[in-house]
Subunit: 215 residues, 2 copies
């Protein structure tokens, strides 16, 4: 369908990572609890090269998102695993290893021109220096009629949202109050924006809320 989507896990109190994130603990203190619903799922384990795991309504939601996704957009911090001195190394090869979990062409928003990189498992990295619309255009062309997913971070997603380019937002609300950390929606967020509830799926460990962005 070539829609632009953003899919992320958020605590009920609005955080997508705990405080004091490091390269070793990229989700910050307590942040791993956000992904408790995810890490045991067979479909999540498979994308990370792991066997076994659970199949349930949550894994169906994840598989659905992966099946729709033909290309991925991300910011440079997401590519390099977080903020820090390493992100200024133009030869850094990304934080995601030789067989990254994206399994699609990935378009990285950056200010540093760089040659594309091919990885295993269908992931390639293309570095785009001429802005979010150009990156979206390249991603759509690469997606082969499928959707384009924003992998993060939050500020990149906000830029697409506020530019009127995002079609769909799916938030997996973890039943957790983190108390501190990195907010998905940080002030100032611009004028109020109405969304349309597209789907709600309940599970014991997370609530999947899907919204359409009204144009």
């Amino acid at each position: 369908m070539n829609r632009l989507t953003f899919d992320i896990t958020m605590s009920l109190d609005g955080f997508i990572a705990g405080p004091n994130a490091t390269l070793e603990q990229p989700l910050g203190e307590g942040g791993e609890q956000l992904h408790e619903w995810l890490v045991g799922l067979a479909s999540w384990r498979e994308t990370h090269g792991l066997a076994g795991g659970t199949t349930n309504r949550d894994s169906e939601i994840l598989e659905e998102a992966m099946a729709r996704n033909g290309a991925t957009l991300m910011g440079r911090r997401m590519f390099s695993g977080g903020a820090g001195p390493w992100e200024d190394d133009p030869n850094a090869d990304g934080w995601w290893g030789d067989d990254p979990p994206f399994h699609t062409p990935v378009f990285v928003l950056t200010h540093h021109p760089r040659e594309p990189v091919e990885k295993q498992g269908g992931t390639s990295y293309t570095f785009v220096t001429d802005g979010i619309e150009a990156a979206l255009g390249q991603a759509r062309a690469a997606a082969g009629g499928k959707d384009v997913a924003i992998a993060g971070g939050a500020s990149v997603a906000q830029q697409y949202l506020r530019a009127g380019l995002l079609d769909e937002l799916q938030i997996h609300v973890a039943p957790l109050l983190l108390g501190a950390g990195v907010r998905l929606f940080d002030e100032p967020g611009g004028d109020p924006l109405a969304l349309k509830v597209a789907r709600v799926v309940e599970s014991p460990t997370v609530t999947h809320l899907r919204y359409e962005v009204e144009k």
Copy 2:
């Protein structure tokens, strides 16, 4: 059941009011959009002395909450309609008029001792100066076996939550990005706290998420 509950509408980006609240616009700029799901409901209109309105799944949720509620707790700002010089007038009679929408005994947390006030429609105000546990004890005694509801504000609810006294949290998530305003969960919120998903109810205009606070 004599449980302590807190029930509030929050935008998807975590706000319970827009910015720049005034006595005339207590929900701040854009904040009235939060309550769009509510104000047309027959059960909401009835508590505010208005006829007519819609009956649907949303009104059932609201009626259920009202039926369970035997007493109400609130902070002094909530009682007086917001922050401002009027809140220091010990004789202020509250912002909610002669027939307030609470229809139960209300216990107001304050530092100013004051005689109780009787209003129409079953609402009375009792002013409690010796802390949140004392106020809860008085509210439970007055609730006649029913639940006690925190009417707000957010900081009062957080105090009960962080003291381990809150049993249940129901958040009505409005499909809306307010962008700025008053957050329900403001930093610093303390250590991470896991909740249990108790119920999810979907409607076209709002998503009702109910959580149990694990003890």
